[in-house]
Symmetry: C2
Subunit: 143 residues, 2 copies
DNA sequence: GTTCCTGCAAAAGCTTTGCAGAAGA
DNA sequence: TCTTCTGCAAAGCTTTTGCAGGAAC
């Protein structure tokens, strides 16, 4: 985790983005928690250590990190914006029972179609929904 | 278009969902406009013919149609919920310049991964973003 | 007569905006 | 010092909720 965090702060420095304490906290949270958090989850966690933290700061920071190419939005569900550190190709699976979002490997380069040959594609997202193994097992126990 | 509309109203009848005038208008709009509309676009269009229409009714109707399996949500962008009639496998491409959403053919059945072998997958979404050919051409004219 | 729709108004969430004071370079 | 961040309060949007009147069956 240490490596990723350092790599990211370097990236910010190169873009002349100030490494303020709040921004580093947000970055740290995202590096340590691969749970695709909402703004509120980030806020609640950091707010425990930084008493008079504002949600506005979380929003600001996320927007800056997105613009800098370090963070991406997961819009798997309407009205539930989530965020994650930009990493290599993967898809997202959301369990509709427990709400957990799982990553799964996926080679997005193979996802091509002749129809889009004249389009400039900058971003690819794959979202699946269903029931995860844990919830499936629970459903069997209590049918 | 006539065939799709009839097929859908039949589906509602079979589920004992009343075919009220507002619901039929929403269904008609979605069948005739494959532009992946927002709630507001649907509202504004129908409201021209039905003066004291309420946004609440559009929301209610869409929720009913989603539950009945006739309509699906497109959550390609956070805070911009869009809707479409459920049709065969396809992906969505959103142009970040003009905002248009394009459909493209895609065989979702081939989108599988060993990692999810124990998951029950009920829904697959593929969202691309970038610039559409029209906007690319315009950018060349005015660089 | 009973059930279900519809529209209105209000409330609830989430996100953005404007600004003054604080912190960082 | 000068620039940029931060937190607060308020505003803006979208969506949901509660309810009374009305339409459909």
């Amino acid at each position: 985790m240490k490596h990723l965090y350092d790599f990211l702060t370097d990236k910010l420095k190169k873009q002349n983005i100030r490494l303020s304490s709040r921004r580093l906290k947000v970055l740290e949270y995202l590096c340590q928690n691969s749970n695709h958090p909402t703004v509120d989850q980030i806020y609640v966690s950091i707010q425990q250590k930084v008493p008079n933290l504002s949600r506005t700061t979380i929003y600001n920071t996320l927007h800056i990190l997105i613009k800098a190419g370090l963070v991406r939005v997961i819009a798997i569900e309407d009205h539930e914006t989530r965020y994650e550190i930009v990493t290599k190709d993967h898809g997202h699976f959301k369990c509709e029972k427990c709400g957990t979002i799982f990553d799964f490997k996926l080679d997005l380069a193979t996802l091509v179609t002749e129809e889009l040959i004249n389009f400039q594609i900058t971003d690819k997202n794959v979202y699946f929904k269903g029931i995860c193994p844990n919830c499936l097992a629970t459903a069997e126990d209590h049918p």
